[in-house]
Amino acid sequence: MNLPKLTFWKAVMVVVFLGGAYATLLRFTRGLGAATHLSDSFPWGLWIGFDVLCGVMMAAGGFTLTATVYIFNIERFRPIIRPTVLTAFLGYVLVVVALLFDLGRPYRIWHPLVMWNPRSVMFEVAWCVTLYTAVLALEFAPIVFERLRLEKALRIQRAISIPLVILGVLLSTLHQSSLGSLYLIVPGKLHPLWYSPLLPVFFFLSAISVGLAMTIFESYMSSKAFGKQLELPLLITLGRVLLVSLLVYGVLRLQDLYHRGALRYLRHPGYEADLFLVEVVLGLALPIALLLNRRVRESTGGLYFAAVLVLLGFITNRLNVSITGMEASAGLHYVPKWTEIAVTGSIVAAGFAIFGLAAKYLPIFPEGPLAPAPREVDHLPAMKRYEFGSGG
């Protein structure tokens, strides 16, 4: 039953990669004008809105989980730390790849590291993303060292692991929020439903939620793809934290809209209000309602479904900030060109493919099936019955 499914996805990947290869050729031989629907009025499109903003957001599981295990010493999360760090590392590498497509002069991508402008948010983001990618590489390194049996390198890595994690959390806090700060400079251009002085806070808080959702999502996918039994008790705890983080974000967001008097824009019919509602319903209302229900919260399928909703909701949020909210002031509707979509699709597909390869050849998952911790097993049998969407 698994084989035809795999072949289908492989076929999809081949098609996506072929499209991506042709789009890449166009991008680098004809330029941005020929390969995108970007223009003077709309200089940032899908590659920034999705590949960069959503990519960094979805890699946020790395810093939240390493902080949980190493800083807060909550040891029982250790088994899922490797796949999460791998996801984060891949995420950042792919963000850099996407930037090479989007930058007009990709071969100068290193310039911000030597030509400083500390007043620029972009400068700060460039430094943080560079350093954090290096931190993630070092956090991921033990997995490679283990495979190659490099004992000395392993010892050195262990000695610096705590400062490394602290540095990673700080860098993540800075640039996750700074991606929101990028838009503080456009008060006259970004629609009031999204422009807020609290943008950096919203981007940071939602990155935490999405990081948790991503960890749930990817544990579930790994269990399907690699037959690694799900760490259900851990995921239930993640689900609870996800619920709380969504509630905090939701309340703060509502307060902000209310205090800025922006709620009245919801009465203006139009696609801005519609897409705002899509974002709120997918990312907040539905997952909160689901996770408040104990049966959903404590079932594999329920958690997975809620996590996917959160991901879709906040992807919509990032696209709303970067695209929907900027259209009215630009006086146009931006629809990405097929080349933009092909490149983005290839980057996402590459992410899945590399994760699969790494899971196959590197010790990402603990040996043997992961039995649920005994102390939480009590109410597990009851949950089984309420699983949905996980039957396959």
């Binding site: 009025s41 940032w44 500390p118």
Partner: protein
């Protein structure tokens, strides 16, 4: 002494010679088709906006505290002491944040090129440095575009409004907008008609307010995270030591051993 351009729409006759002079100085093609374009672009760095029987020049405002220069991650855009905001092509990585951020929509991109540049009016920085007026001011047949010291032009603009208050709206655009600009505009109708709509506050302060907290976040966050680790780690160490002590002959695990588990 900071230089500036004063454009008085009431004297402008819409001849578009300023467009032509600008194109020549920047070695850009200029013909009837380009003249008809009512927008700035990589090949047209200034244009005379025609709205009914009113004219208004659009060009880089060469702000006193330029948003573009503040957002540029590599410092490719820079305000010079003499007024012009200049662009250093060799630094530019092509992130186009300046285009997103500029409140006047000025920086434009060479979308058709494989290795594009940002293009914008740089207030003829080379000419200004040599003590000459900008190309647009030099070619203007009526004196509608005038080049000079910013302070003197400001005084002159005030004087013109005071002498003929019913010919002008009582506003010198660029005096305070986004913290002041090196291009000053006078008009007989409201500037909103030409799409001008900017706060008086310089925009770079909006991001600087957040960025200025970075050192605080790093130092405070570092201490906080380190402290939390120290407390939780000590707690686990003690628990582990107590657990081992109960077993006969159990030895206290050191930190390294425990982390290796």
């Amino acid at each position: 002494m900071s230089k500036a351009i004063l454009y008085d729409a009431t004297i402008c006759i819409g001849c578009k010679l300023c467009e032509k002079g600008c194109a020549e100085r920047n070695k850009l093609p200029y013909d009837d088709n380009v003249a008809a374009e009512q927008t700035m672009s990589a090949h047209k760095l200034t244009f005379v906006m025609i709205s009914g029987d009113k004219f208004m020049r659009r060009l880089c405002m060469n702000c006193e505290d330029p948003t573009c220069a503040s957002v540029c991650p590599v410092g490719a855009l820079r305000k010079t002491a003499s007024g012009p905001v200049i662009y250093e092509e060799s630094r530019c990585i092509g992130c186009r944040y300046c285009m997103l951020a500029c409140p006047f929509g000025v920086p434009k991109y060479e979308w058709g090129k494989v290795l594009p540049r940002v293009r914008k009016c740089d207030m003829c920085a080379d000419r200004v440095a040599a003590g000459r007026p900008t190309a647009c001011a030099e070619i203007c047949p009526t004196g509608a575009t005038k080049f000079g010291d910013r302070d003197e032009l400001m005084a002159e603009a005030k004087d013109r409004i005071a002498k003929a208050p019913n010919q002008y709206v009582n506003r010198i655009y660029g005096l305070e907008e986004v913290g002041g600009t090196s291009v000053l505009l006078l008009s007989s109708v409201g500037f909103e008609r030409f799409g001008f709509n900017s706060p008086t506050e310089p925009l770079p302060i909006l991001t600087y307010r957040v960025l200025s907290h970075v050192p605080d976040i790093v130092s405070l966050g570092g201490v906080l995270l380190g402290g939390i680790w120290w407390i939780t780690n000590r707690r686990t160490e003690v628990a582990a030591a107590e657990g081992q002590a109960k077993e006969p002959g159990g030895k206290e695990p050191n930190r390294k051993e425990r982390r290796q588990k």
